[in-house]
């Protein structure tokens, strides 16, 4: 078994209002960062887990996301990286 360090992105699905993203965009605007568009704020989750292979780790993380970490009604998830810990 190997330890893997996995990073997951969970973001509000397109079309769903993202007030946090909007608040950040507005705040950045008022700080003088003018030319921004499309700020989105989601969650970044880091999990360390044991698995035989990187693929097995990925499968495990996918299961975690489907079961708990992401809400299928409003969020999309993506496994950003799976690395040896």
């Amino acid at each position: 078994m190997t330890r893997f360090r996995c990073a997951i992105h969970i973001v509000p699905r397109r079309g769903i209002l993202d007030p946090q993203g909007k608040a950040v965009a507005d705040a950045l605007h008022s700080l003088g960062f003018a030319d921004l568009s499309d700020v989105r704020v989601g969650r970044h989750v880091i999990v360390e887990t044991e698995a035989a292979t990187a693929d097995a780790a990925r499968a495990r993380i996918t299961a975690m996301c489907e079961k708990l970490l992401a809400n299928p009604v409003t969020e999309d998830f993506e496994i950003a990286s799976v690395e040896h810990a």
């Binding site: 209002l17 007030p19 009604v73 409003t74």
Partner: protein, 234 residues
């Protein structure tokens, strides 16, 4: 009638729900511990408000996996009445007992205030004692109350009369200003397709006593009791 109030770690309106049943309605109330599997033969399950598991991942997401929830879900599937208030509504959505999801308030701020609601359906076991389109005042207190669902779900909810309460102004109009959290279509409460699960963000258990302000929650609890009595008779 015997009502069971689930206590999750972080529930904090459990005592209020207990008093609503025991003191205001004069019925039997018991607490159901989240780690148990026994529903103690209750006739009604209340998922109370609060911050189960701190709402740290998403409101209701972790509580939904509590051992007791397996029994609650089975009870609901058998047609048993389940009332989810505030965090209880969020848990019911996460558990798939109700469609949709409750997201962070559009203002990004917690909102604690009396809210006007319009009763959109009196054909439910929770609202039979109200008048249709009656405007009532019930407190809201939540940070994640923005009801969201996809377009098909919304159309179905509206078409089937599953939207039970809507945020309105004092004149009964569902305006943007009257919407405390940015809920789609000003939805404050919905009922399941079978009519046995009600989820609502406002707190009817906080509107039962003249000395505390509104008593507009009384008909809701009275409706529950009435429907139970009718079932017993039938």
């Amino acid at each position: 009638m015997k009502a069971g109030i689930v206590r999750f770690p972080g529930s904090n309106c459990d005592e209020d729900a207990y008093h609503a049943i025991a003191d205001h309605l004069g019925q039997e109330a018991v607490y159901l511990w989240h780690k148990d599997h026994d529903l103690q033969n209750v006739d009604l399950v209340i998922l109370p408000g609060g911050f189960s598991y701190g709402d740290y991942l998403r409101a209701g997401a972790i509580a939904r996996f509590s051992p007791i929830m397996r029994e609650v879900i089975a009870f609901a599937k058998r047609g048993g009445p389940v009332l989810g208030i505030c965090n209880g509504f969020q848990i019911a959505c996460e558990a798939g007992l109700l469609p949709g999801a409750l997201l962070r308030n559009a203002s990004l701020r917690f909102v604690s205030a009396p809210a006007h609601l319009r009763v959109e359906s009196i054909a439910t076991r929770y609202t039979s004692q109200y008048h249709l389109n009656q405007v009532i005042s019930i407190p809201v207190a939540h940070g994640d109350g923005r009801y969201t669902a996809d377009a098909d779900t919304l159309a179905r909810l509206e078409g089937e009369g599953q939207v039970v309460f809507r945020y309105v102004n004092g004149d009964g109009e569902a305006t943007a200003a009257a919407n405390p959290n940015g809920s789609l279509r000003n939805i404050a409460g919905i009922v399941s397709a079978e009519g046995n699960v009600l989820g609502m963000m406002p707190h009817p258990e906080r509107a039962l006593d003249t000395t505390l302000g509104s008593t507009d929650g009384v008909p809701l609890f009275a409706s529950i009791l009435e429907s139970m009595l009718a079932e017993v008779k039938a």
